[in-house]
């Protein structure tokens, strides 16, 4: 069928009417590519937006520029080799990627990590959340035009990364989790070093509050921008802080399985009723503060004992299926592991948070203005490796 110019125009007009836009003057729409390479897209995500003047009529996120085929690669890697690959999914919170996979494999093998290993795992899990969200807090500022916060974020994230490095050996790719425990015990002096890093992060949170949350310019650019109601957020499968910012009280650390030590601690799940960009920033700021509290509690009560359960040297996972989901920095991340009793998994399905979090872009970007696209995308907070895998 031949599409005439008139057809196209009437299509755009119909879409404009659909997205609550005033179309008294029938102007010609414009298609704008944001990305694949653009400073505001956090990597190689492409968003095709149709514009009517300054206003977005339709937006479509296009993923797949960074697809690395993890689900297929894991089928030819042994279980210990898989952890080193899946480190690279969400590269800002690497350790958190390993945990659900290892928990799934432990469930299949019916081994349980000793309590000390479980606690150290939880500390590192929370440290990776802090280092990830710290960068978000600074990054949100630079997306809105404030240069300073991102430098402070890099400055203070360094202390957390140094702590992760001095125990795991890797700043970004720890590869520290093992089936049945963790690779090595903590080095001497690490607990005190982590305590001082946590006080620095707490200070950083206060600075961010002074620099951004109390700033009227920041508020006017984020309040009421990109409002996502709770039912829409749930229907798009959003998770993590994005969902909590829409007022849904849902956190897998509290509601999920027993793999990590969260249920023995005293902490709070923060939610915000607004569901706009400001709420998403606010919830993540509170989460970093809560993370500092969690880490301090964990450091006080590390049980003594071994860090590795008895597992065979050559790991063969018995046949079966397991699904484990944890609350990662970006949201719920789950692994569905199918084993046929061989050295390698038969099939691994990875559910990563960012893919669902960014799929709402086509809904939430309709009807906003062009500068708000950046605000909304920054506040949705996705990592490209987590979208494409």
């Amino acid at each position: 069928m031949n599409v005439t110019e008139q057809d196209q125009l009437s299509y755009i007009a119909a879409q404009a009417a659909d997205s609550r836009i005033n179309v008294e003057i029938e102007t010609e729409g414009m298609t704008l590519n944001i990305g694949p390479q653009h400073p505001a897209t956090h990597g190689t995500l492409r968003i095709v937006v149709k514009l009517d003047g300054e206003q977005v009529i339709a937006a479509e996120p296009i993923a797949g520029y960074m697809h690395r085929g993890y689900e297929k690669l894991t089928e030819v890697r042994t279980y210990p080799q898989v952890t080193t690959l899946i480190n690279r999914i969400d590269w800002l919170g690497s350790f958190a990627n390993e945990v659900p996979f290892i928990l799934a494999a432990e469930q299949l093998m019916e081994v349980e990590a000793p309590p000390r290993a479980r606690w150290i795992r939880t500390i590192l899990f929370e440290l990776s959340r802090i280092s990830n969200l710290t960068l978000f807090l600074g990054d949100m500022g630079i997306q809105l035009g404030a240069m300073t916060p991102v430098f402070y974020a890099f400055r203070d994230r360094e202390h957390v990364l140094n702590q992760i490095e001095s125990v795991t050996g890797g700043r970004f790719h720890p590869n520290f989790d093992r089936i049945g425990g963790i690779k090595d015990d903590l080095p001497a002096g690490w607990i005190d070093g982590t305590r001082s890093a946590m006080t620095r992060i707490a200070e950083f949170c206060d600075q961010m509050e002074a620099l951004l949350l109390n700033n009227e310019i920041f508020e006017s650019r984020t309040r009421g921008i990109g409002v996502i109601p709770a039912d829409i957020a749930l229907s798009y499968g959003m998770s993590g802080a994005n969902l909590r910012a829409s007022g849904v009280d849902w956190d897998l650390r509290r509601d999920g399985g027993d793999g990590l030590a969260y249920k023995e601690l005293d902490w709070k799940v923060w939610t915000h009723p607004d569901g706009d960009s400001f709420a998403r920033f606010w919830v993540r700021l509170q989460e970093v503060r809560e993370g500092v509290k969690i880490v301090e509690q964990l450091l006080d009560g590390i049980p003594s004992g071994p860090v590795m359960a008895k597992v065979p040297r050559i790991i063969k996972v018995p046949p079966g299926e397991a699904w484990v989901e944890t609350e990662n920095p970006l949201g719920a991340m789950g692994y569905y592991v199918v084993s046929k009793g061989e050295l390698v998994p038969f099939r691994v399905k990875i559910r990563s948070a960012s893919f669902n979090n960014v799929s709402i872009a086509s809904w939430v970007l309709r009807g906003v203005y062009v500068p708000d696209i950046i605000t909304i995308l920054a506040s949705l907070y996705f990592i490209l490796g987590d979208i494409d895998r």
Partner: protein, 178 residues
């Protein structure tokens, strides 16, 4: 204008950081020392000290290697190359039988492929591989990133001693061979 108070509070944070950076010894000694107060490291002139556990480069202690090929098989991207041959070593006690040992002909690690996961160091049953926190080994030519066993042996000098463990640990402390 209602937009003033928050902005002033934010500027206060920035100004405080500026003062802390310029005068790291406090305002009693008002001599500006920005290079001392800055958190960044001026790389070629001063260097950062990585943690002793940092995974920088893999060092080979050749005497311990028996060419068992475990690291070659476990490497996720197959970047280790080993060749060896069987040979007779003199007996331990006088009058005993000569022992059969594996001599190492070739031990190469291709650092252009290596992704620094540390699986080879973990699986080595004879403690022949060690992590060194050294990080300055970039090369103009990619082929020079293939380190042979002599070059890997040189890194042994940079391997730090294993750290003591935190209280409550039951792990046994390992030692780096001389």
């Amino acid at each position: 204008m209602p937009m003033i108070p928050g902005v002033i509070k934010g500027l206060g944070v920035t100004f405080k950081t500026l003062i802390e950076t310029l005068f790291p010894e406090g305002l009693r000694k008002p001599i500006p020392q920005p290079s001392k107060g800055a958190v960044t490291v001026q790389y070629p002139h001063e260097k950062e000290e990585p943690a002793p556990r940092a995974r920088g480069i893999i060092a080979l202690h050749e005497g311990n290697c028996t060419a068992c090929m475990l690291c070659v098989r476990e490497c996720p991207d197959w970047c280790i190359y080993i060749e060896g041959h069987k040979t007779k070593a003199p007996p331990r006690r006088a009058g005993g039988k000569p022992r059969q040992v594996n001599a190492l002909d070739r031990f190469d690690i291709d650092y252009a492929l290596c992704m620094y996961c540390g699986i080879c160091v973990d699986v080595c049953p004879f403690d022949a591989l060690f992590w060194s926190p050294e990080y300055e080994f970039s090369e103009p030519k990619i082929a020079d990133l293939l380190h042979d066993k002599e070059r890997l042996g040189e890194w042994m000098h940079t391997v730090p001693a294993f750290e003591a463990y935190e209280a409550g640990s039951e792990a046994k402390q390992k030692k780096v061979p001389e």
